[in-house]
Symmetry: C2
Subunit: 243 residues, 2 copies
DNA sequence: GCTCGAATACTCGGGGACGGGTGATCGCTG
DNA sequence: CAGCGATCACCCGTCCCCGAGTATTCGAGC
């Protein structure tokens, strides 16, 4: 009971069984045929464990085992009533409620100051190229798929991701421009800070540009006491924040 | 060697140690102070295991154990030379190379046909509301943070996600409109398909709209035997899924 | 009729993430 | 000075994920 909604693959399984009973391998094939592995991560290891999980929670159940020719057995599953409810409930949640997702580009951006500005620009330009390539390939693949007769209804997620990629592309281009033109706020601080770090020195704190404490005002006193520790000389600022 | 680049939290650890030696708990505090937990998933369980992993691969090493007052011991780590290289290499990859990411909304969209169209619209509208709320809260939080003096350089990732959310918002609105106006291609098929599934019948195949086989042309012959809709034709089908 | 490759159907063991503990200490208050 | 809550610092058991492997069988071509 009260199962943790983890892997979306489980939802996909429920959705497939909503159409008709299937055995796991067939679920995988169907997902492939409909290009759903593009939007829902699929691999066999996960598939079978996810199916087991659903059985254990009573959301699906085995309806029989077939053997055809002398192929291995195939266990066919069907949706139970609780499973049907879970399917609608879970899917509703996914659609109606934006969830915090952590993308790796976001992670990269948030650590960007670690790189020297010039290097950052170079890498961002590389990203632009790659994004453009991906967009073209997507486009091509999409045309093929549509020609095969898959209706738009079954490809909305493509439109979504395509639009996101495009938006990202534009944004990155804009960022590059700002960096190139030098209109990006704090660029000089970036450079200085980076040089000192690379040299193995204590980096300058944010005081340099008006930043005072590493903590929001309300945390006030409580500070990770001994941060000064290692190399730096005795100084009045025991907690040079970024330092 | 040849370690698998998994959790971005590991990268964040490397980045922090690039500035100066720290003990794990301090890394966490620093990330919080800089609002990095917004873009890189942080929890203590992962942090300590990630640190262990980095030590095991020789990318960081313990430089000592401090005890201050009579607090518990704190093991302080520093970056090794291989660690420094890995840091730059990994970060470069994140920035320069777009990676396939699976978001849950994408998963939701790709299974959307499971819901009746009216319900889908309702849920999408809910999403619009929630997105707008989030955007406003972000905006507010951002203002506060900026007033605390965090420079733009340390908040680029916010600009990125904000822009993404905005783009999503617009897109969802557009989709809703199309569905409401009935200009969305295949809407009637959707309705029919859904009703039959709900009634426990075999859903109509895609032949109804010109789609022929579950597989792209080049797979040709090999078809997961029953995909064409067992219920419809006379049953020469040897493996009608359930009995 | 034989071989090669692709498809079928699943198994398994390692590894990593995660969340919920667990003490111990510090500061404040009555 | 006793008690209370907040903070500090870390550990551990569980669950879940995943990718590589395996054994079989069908079909196409020579």
């Amino acid at each position: 009971m009260a199962r943790r909604r983890g892997n979306p693959l489980a939802l996909a399984v429920l959705a497939l069984l909503f159409e008709r009973p299937m055995h796991p391998y067939e679920m995988a094939s169907t997902m492939r045929a409909r290009r759903k592995e593009e939007s829902i991560k699929l691999n066999y290891g996960s598939l079978y464990s996810v199916v087991d999980g659903l059985v254990k929670h009573g959301l699906i159940e085995a309806v029989g085992v077939l053997r055809e020719g002398r192929r291995p057995e195939r266990t066919v599953y069907e949706l139970t009533e609780p499973g049907r409810l879970e399917l609608f409930d879970w899917l509703s949640e996914l659609v109606s409620t934006p969830a915090r997702e952590y993308t790796s580009f976001e992670a990269g951006l948030s650590l960007l100051p670690v790189l020297p500005p010039e290097e950052a620009v170079r890498l961002l330009e590389e990203r632009v190229l790659r994004l453009e390539q991906h967009l073209h390939m997507d486009e091509a693949l999409r045309e093929v798929t549509v020609k095969q007769g898959l209706p738009r209804l079954l490809l909305i997620e493509w439109e979504y991701t395509r639009m996101l990629r495009r938006a990202e592309l534009d944004w990155v281009k804009g960022l590059i421009d700002e960096l190139r033109e030098g209109t990006f706020e704090g660029l000089d601080f970036w450079r200085v800070w980076h040089e000192r770090c690379s040299a193995g020195l204590e980096p300058p704190g944010l005081e340099a540009i008006g930043y005072v404490a590493g903590y929001p005002a309300d945390h006030g006193a409580a500070n990770s006491a001994g941060s000064a520790g290692a190399g730096s000389a005795g100084d009045d600022d025991p907690e040079a924040p970024i330092a």
